[in-house]
């Protein structure tokens, strides 16, 4: 294994936070071990002190910026009469009846836990005030303040779900709970491969009576001339169809829509989520998903097609900073543009084909949580045989029409 691969094995998450953020080596845990030198001891001490200082500092905010939420126990939600700050880009929903933002329990706990919101318990007086709001309301004297413990007890929150939400939110993702199962979704259109076989050139002469042995006949390779291995492969393909969708007895559902951090996210008309996440709590049941459950989850996933119908064209501005990935892609494109047309197309073909095979289609994320420990995985339906005509598969057909794109054997030119 090369050094590179070894480095890749060291998880970014496994890195120890370096509170001093200077001087100390960044990667791996070994460097943090005391090695008997005062230099190392001092580094460790400095780092530890930096951490204590960072954690020990008093967190303050201006009284004017205090964010106040009122817990409404009958609806298991939190009302924010005066929403301010940066949090409401993806958090909360507008409640028409009370003319204010309403938070679900997960969002409420998240904001309170990170110390960004003070929360009180609602009473009749407050609810009356909320209707006209013609004067100032002093929460502190009129309402009971809730501490975090009390809030946890009151709110009816699925803790596994909350942990995933908080984890992704702290990493900077934009995340929203999905609404209960949406509109009917179109059945995926699996195109039958049955007829394809008959078009094969090796079969046609049989119709004229020259070759009379069908594929996989035991005498096939004894009596039929083959001139390319591509034709041999084609002739032995069984064209086995994909397994049709069945209703699972206990379905799982997608829980969250997740977007990469973007400056112009709009709650009203969100773009297609970058990730669609299902929370799976394995604390009690450790059985792996059944295939029908995976199919159900993938079926539930919102696709770009449905999105275009649902959401009005939301203008997506490009972020100013280019990510490393984009820079790399740009360089790659530049290099490609220097090649001649047929080589460029061939490279694009091979790259796209690899991507189709490797990524499949319809990816979903499963956040598998076991007693607070989270493992994220991504599942997609494999498309090795290219029977699902995705955009990428269509592109392959555009580049080399008529070719069997699932055949990864490349016939050399003899």
């Amino acid at each position: 294994m090369s050094q590179d691969e070894l480095n890749d094995l060291i998880d970014v998450e496994d890195e120890i936070q370096d509170w001093k953020n200077l001087g100390m080596p960044k990667r791996g845990t070994k460097e943090f071990e005391p090695d008997g030198t005062t230099f190392q001891l001092n580094s460790l001490e400095d780092s530890r002190n930096a951490m204590f200082n960072a954690l020990g500092a008093n967190r303050q905010h201006h009284i004017k910026n205090t964010l106040v939420g009122i817990w409404k126990d009958d609806s298991n939600s939190c009302l924010v009469p005066n929403a301010k700050g940066n949090y409401f880009k993806d958090v909360g929903k507008y409640n028409k009846l009370y003319n204010c933002i309403e938070l679900n329990p997960i969002e409420t706990i998240y904001l309170v836990e990170r110390g960004s919101m003070v929360i009180y318990l609602s009473d009749d007086e407050f609810m009356d005030w909320l209707k006209d709001r013609n004067m100032e309301f002093d929460y502190e004297t009129n309402l009971v303040a809730l501490d975090l413990e009390y809030l946890y007890a009151l709110s009816n929150v699925n803790f596994a779900k909350y942990q995933i939400y908080a984890y992704l939110k702290r990493l900077g993702y934009i995340i929203q709970e999905r609404e209960e199962i949406e509109q009917e979704q179109e059945q995926e259109q699996e195109q039958s491969e049955e007829h394809k076989q008959d078009k094969s050139f090796t079969i046609l002469p049989r119709v004229w009576g020259i070759l009379s042995y069908p594929v996989l006949h035991s005498l096939q390779f004894k009596k039929v001339h083959y001139f390319r291995y591509t034709d041999v492969y084609k002739s032995i393909q069984l064209n086995i169809p994909k397994i049709p969708k069945k209703e699972p007895s206990s379905p799982f559902h997608l829980t969250f829509n997740v977007w990469k951090p973007t400056p112009n996210f709009s709650k009203k008309s969100p773009p297609l989520p970058d990730f669609q996440v299902s929370v799976i709590d394995t604390s009690k049941n450790t059985d792996f998903l059944k295939f029908s459950q995976i199919q159900q989850l993938l079926f539930e996933k919102t696709t770009s097609l449905q999105y275009e119908l649902k959401v009005k064209e939301s203008i997506k501005k490009k972020p100013k900073m280019e990510s490393k990935k984009e820079v790399r892609a740009k360089k790659q494109a530049e290099r490609q543009s220097k090649l001649n047309e047929s080589t460029r197309l061939r490279n694009e073909y091979l790259k796209t084909r690899d991507e189709v095979i490797k990524n499949g289609h319809g990816n979903i994320v499963l956040a598998v949580i076991n007693n607070g420990i989270i493992n994220f995985i991504q599942l997609g339906i494999g498309n090795f045989n290219m029977s699902q005509k995705t955009e990428q598969v269509n592109r392959l057909e555009e580049i080399y029409p008529g070719r069997h794109h699932e055949l990864i054997y490349n016939e050399p030119v003899y």
Binding site: Q3, F291, V365, I381, F384
Partner: protein, 403 residues
């Protein structure tokens, strides 16, 4: 270096399947002429030309014969014992495993070199040698790195001498070079080992052939081949059913072979549609027929590995795990374990699900001998009752996909 190496490999592993096709049939020696003209669907003249050519080939030439590989079924093992067949089955599609080698049957070659029975100026490295060489390089690298780290510690403790400082500098440079070299080198490349190899050989010349080795040599002074190739059950069935390129003397027909393969997994005489052999075979055939080189994935705790061309060219890209469609045969921990192993060797895990027909549907095709006259067609019909879906499994690391 890598490119030159590849060219050589392309020559050795020119054919993807152990099947001589008409365009590369040696007997005819007409390689260039024996290709069909291009066919353009919208051009009727090309159709006529195509069919004339085809008719000509069929009358003029026989289809190359393809059943020179003998497979024996002995003690529950499918064996290929003939030396040229062994080579052929490996070189044309990478089937089977040499029982005394890692995969390619190289025991004889290695032993010839070990016992100094052939003279070679530049001995050909087998896969086993390459691995050993790479490991030696890696150990050497680690040793040097440890030395450097020790010196660094000394420096921090302020106990370092000027000489050691110099040594440290040099070590640092060497390690940088070594790192670079290991990144460039792919399979089968390596530089610094040649010298060590020569030294070893010099020592061996003086060695006398040991008694146990002398038993390997016949009265004419030739090395006896004691290695054979063992085929997996799925490989054997594929070679017989799909390509019909092997002869198995033990079985009168394909159905008998099929029954033996199925009974390998279940003792009962009746074959159920969810027999493990059938599921394994369908998955094997499915990927083989798309041009993948399918090998056992047992080393990674999975059912199969998929290579794009074959082991000498590139590492396997996918690990396949055949899953039970209707019950949870694995729990999350087992799946995570496998996925973690597969991920750490830079492969992608694919869960493969197979839907089976009902026993009635299965029996109707399997036991009805009247409807189809050919065995191959019967199995084609049988296998068409099944359905296959794949799920691609990947780990998601949210701290990496953010931007």
């Amino acid at each position: 270096m890598a490119k030159k190496n590849n060219k050589n490999l392309n020559k050795i592993y020119k054919y993807p399947l152990p099947l001589i096709i008409s365009s590369n049939s040696n007997g005819l020696n007409l390689n260039l002429n024996l290709n069909l003209p291009n066919l353009f669907p919208h051009n009727p003249i090309s159709w006529i030309w195509y069919s004339i050519k085809l008719l000509y080939y069929n009358l003029r030439y026989d289809v190359p014969s393809n059943d020179d590989i003998n497979v024996v079924y002995k003690d529950g093992i499918f064996k290929i014992e003939n030396e040229s067949s062994m080579r052929k089955i490996w070189r044309m599609g990478f089937f089977g495993k040499g029982v005394l080698s890692r995969s390619e049957p190289t025991w004889k070659e290695r032993t010839l070199i070990r016992l100094n029975l052939i003279k070679t100026d530049k001995c050909k490295l087998t896969m086993e040698d390459i691995t050993r060489q790479r490991r030696a390089e890696r150990t050497d690298f680690k040793k040097k790195r440890q030395k450097l780290q020790d010196l660094e510690l000394k420096k921090r403790k302020d106990e370092i001498t000027d000489e050691e400082l110099k040594e440290m500098d040099e070590l640092d440079k060497i390690l940088v070079e070594m790192r670079k070299a290991s990144q460039v080198g792919s399979i089968g490349s390596g530089g610094s080992f040649d010298i060590e190899k020569d030294e070893e050989e010099d020592e061996e010349v003086e060695e006398v052939i040991r008694e146990e080795d002398s038993k390997l040599i016949d009265s004419n002074g030739r090395l006896i081949q004691i290695e054979y190739v063992q085929l997996q059950f799925v490989e054997t069935f594929f070679l017989k059913f799909a390509l019909n390129t092997i002869k198995i003397s033990n079985f009168a027909n394909l159905t008998e072979l099929f029954k033996v393969c199925c009974n390998h997994y279940s003792e009962s005489n009746s074959i159920n549609p969810d027999n493990k052999f059938i599921l394994e075979y369908l998955v094997y055939h499915y990927y083989r027929s798309m041009g993948w080189c399918v090998r056992s994935g047992i080393k990674f705790g999975t059912d199969y590995l998929l290579y794009k061309r074959g082991p000498p060219f590139m590492h396997a890209e996918f690990c396949l795990l055949i899953m039970d469609l209707n019950s949870n045969n694995l729990d999350w921990f087992q799946v995570f374990t496998k996925a973690r192993v597969v991920g750490s060797v830079k492969k992608t895990l694919v869960l493969v699900y197979v839907e089976t027909p009902t026993i009635e549907e299965f029996n109707q095709v399997f036991y009805d001998n009247n409807e189809v006259d050919d065995e191959g067609l019967k199995f084609l019909k049988l296998f068409k009752l099944y359905k296959i879906s794949e799920v691609i499994y990947k780990r998601w690391n949210p701290s990496r996909t953010r931007d």
